[in-house]
């Protein structure tokens, strides 16, 4: 076993540049990535937060900084809804199985129920409230209104955020891309057909608005 590891290591050294190898082993300073975004992190200091203790976090939500105290186990979803009153983000399962709590984290759709508040620091968080321009609906919201892309409306904010995330990456998505991007959000009322139409409409509205989000 020991011997085998050594030979594997040798092979790996041939495979990796020396520098990468060292960084991989934690003695270097930076990794060289040819692709893939590194998740930026504000928290520079390492600190053990004890279970049940409250720690201070600063969350950037919809362009505003919110400072509050959280337990390490608190989800971003709980903090948004029950601590900050941002109840547009809905709770459906708290186990990453429905998408009602979808928010954008650095422009990427994520489940707020599966995200710890302590790990959301330093990220740009956008909720459905953050798509509003004052009292005016954003283009995705407007498209959902026009196409009747909901029934009970409870999954809707999450659906809207998934579509918003898609259009931020792909302003003119194909119908396959649309359906794939929708596939992480359940709608028990079954409004997928209208959501797909609304997504096309939203892309159109965004283009008219000059791609502004």
């Amino acid at each position: 076993m020991k011997k085998r590891d050594t030979s594997e290591e040798d092979k790996a050294k041939q495979g990796l540049t020396r520098r990468q190898f060292l960084t991989t082993m934690g003695v270097g300073t930076a990794a060289v990535a040819v692709s893939g975004k590194r998740q930026a992190h504000a928290a520079e200091e390492e600190a053990v937060i004890k279970a049940g203790d409250l720690t201070r976090v600063a969350l950037n939500i919809n362009g505003r900084r919110h400072r509050l105290m959280v337990e390490p186990r608190w989800s971003l979803l709980f903090v948004l809804r029950e601590r900050l009153g941002l109840t547009g983000t809905k709770v459906g399962c708290e186990r990453g199985e429905c998408g009602a709590c979808t928010v954008l984290i650095n422009d990427v759709p994520r489940y707020a129920c599966m995200t710890l508040a302590v790990e959301a620091e330093g990220a740009k968080i956008i909720t459905v409230e953050g798509l509003m321009n004052g009292e005016e609906l954003g283009p995705v919201q407007q498209a959902f209104l026009e196409e009747d892309a909901f029934q009970c409306g409870y999954c809707t904010p999450g659906q809207i955020m998934a579509v918003e995330g898609l259009l931020r990456s792909f302003p003119d998505p194909s119908s396959d891309q649309v359906r794939a991007a929708m596939s992480g959000n359940l709608c028990r009322c079954g409004t997928y057909t209208h959501i797909a139409k609304a997504t096309s409409r939203a892309a159109e509205l965004r283009r008219k608005a000059g791609g502004a989000s």
């Binding site: 590891d5 594997e8 290591e9 092979k11 790996a12 041939q14 495979g15 990796l16 540049t17 990468q20 960084t23 991989t24 082993m25 934690g26 270097g28 930076a30 990794a31 060289v32 990535a33 040819v34 692709s35 893939g36 975004k37 590194r38 998740q39 992190h41 928290a43 520079e44 390492e46 600190a47 053990v48 937060i49 004890k50 279970a51 049940g52 337990e71 390490p72 186990r73 989800s75 708290e94 186990r95 990453g96 199985e97 998408g99 979808t102 990427v108 759709p109 994520r110 489940y111 599966m114 995200t115 710890l116 302590v118 790990e119 998934a162 794939a180 991007a181 596939s183 992480g184």
Partner: protein, 323 residues
């Protein structure tokens, strides 16, 4: 609601290992599987050691002789990486089939390889063999999603889509620990229940997956991943097949056939590989390979369908390779 835990986000691997040395701590990468386990009480943790600040675990890098994918690279990054899509299509296809878009945006390749089984007895309120109990409830219970190969005391199937693709592509896993690094062919990374039904991988408590190494694709390499599931999104494989064939002069020079949803570990079907090695992929050979892959299968009460399914799937995929 999650039970309470300590939380630490070290800045260096050295610190990670320091914290992992404390009893009962758990590594946290994307967390998508971990939080489900904690919510369901599958296991307890005293504290989470988050890897998020460990820079060298992120990103996809060209090693000059293949690719290194850092353990914290998200599934989405794997699925959309141009180099992976071009050179290792099986891996990109497998990554695209994982869970849902949001989970792919959060889940990591390292976490995907280390995820816990999806057995509903294991995940439910059942003190099963894998959780230190006496019995595997699947044996006489609802075993439609359980294994047909490699079961021994415990009859889970390995839930990963990515692992079969990586094994087909001859990937190795880079393991980092307080005592240094080691490299294990991915095929040997997973723990069969015959060896230890309470562990899923060869990782020791103070070790983590640091990355995955892919060899440069050989000339003539063709790879694919195909997954069959009950629901078209957000579902694990009922059956999946990863193929990596090196074709030479219309013949299969070398073949890796790896099955997902078949066994407690990603299952390399050497029986199928032997049938096609050196052969042209004609209809008779394909049928024979599909039969061979299931020759040692031992279905349970409710999963006989997997035999027909795997045969059909392997045939379909080999035909696609031939065509």
């Amino acid at each position: 609601m999650l039970p309470a835990f300590d939380y630490v986000r070290p800045k260096s691997l050295t610190d990670v290992f320091k914290h992992l040395a404390s009893k009962g701590t758990t590594v946290k990468a994307g967390g998508t599987d971990l939080f489900g386990c904690l919510r369901d009480g599958v296991f307890q943790t005293s504290g989470l050691v988050s890897l998020n600040n460990i820079k060298e675990l992120h990103g996809i890098a060209d090693t000059g002789n293949g690719l290194r994918i850092g353990a914290l690279t998200t599934i989405t990054e794997v699925a959309t990486s141009p180099v992976i899509r071009n050179q290792y299509p099986a891996l990109a296809q497998a990554a695209m089939e994982v869970a849902s878009p949001q989970l792919r945006n959060q889940g990591t390749i390292g976490g995907n390889l280390c995820q816990k089984p999806r057995c509903w007895y294991y995940r439910g309120e059942f003190h099963c063999l894998r959780k230190g109990g006496e019995t595997c409830f699947a044996v006489t219970g609802q075993n439609q999603y359980h294994c047909i190969l490699g079961g021994d005391g415990c009859y889970i199937v390995h839930p990963s889509d990515i692992a079969p693709a990586l094994i087909a592509l001859d990937a190795r896993v880079q393991i980092a620990g307080s005592k240094g690094a080691r490299y294990v062919p991915l095929e040997e990374f997973f723990m069969s229940p015959t060896k230890d039904p309470k562990r899923e991988t060869v990782l020791m408590p103070d070790e983590i997956v640091a990355g995955v190494l892919l060899p440069a694709p050989s000339k003539g390499l063709r790879s694919s991943y195909r997954k069959v599931r009950a629901r078209r999104s957000w579902d694990f494989a009922l059956a999946s097949v990863a193929l990596a064939l090196t074709m030479s002069d219309r013949r299969v020079a070398s073949a890796h056939v790896v099955l997902g949803g078949a066994a407690p570990v990603p299952w390399r079907s050497r029986e199928a590989e032997e049938v096609i090695a050196g052969k042209q992929l004609d209809a008779a050979t394909i049928t024979k390979a599909a039969e061979a892959a299931m020759s040692k299968a031992q279905p349970m009460d409710h999963n006989h369908y997997k035999l027909a399914l795997f045969r059909g799937l392997i045939e379909e995929q080999l035909q696609a390779m031939a065509g």
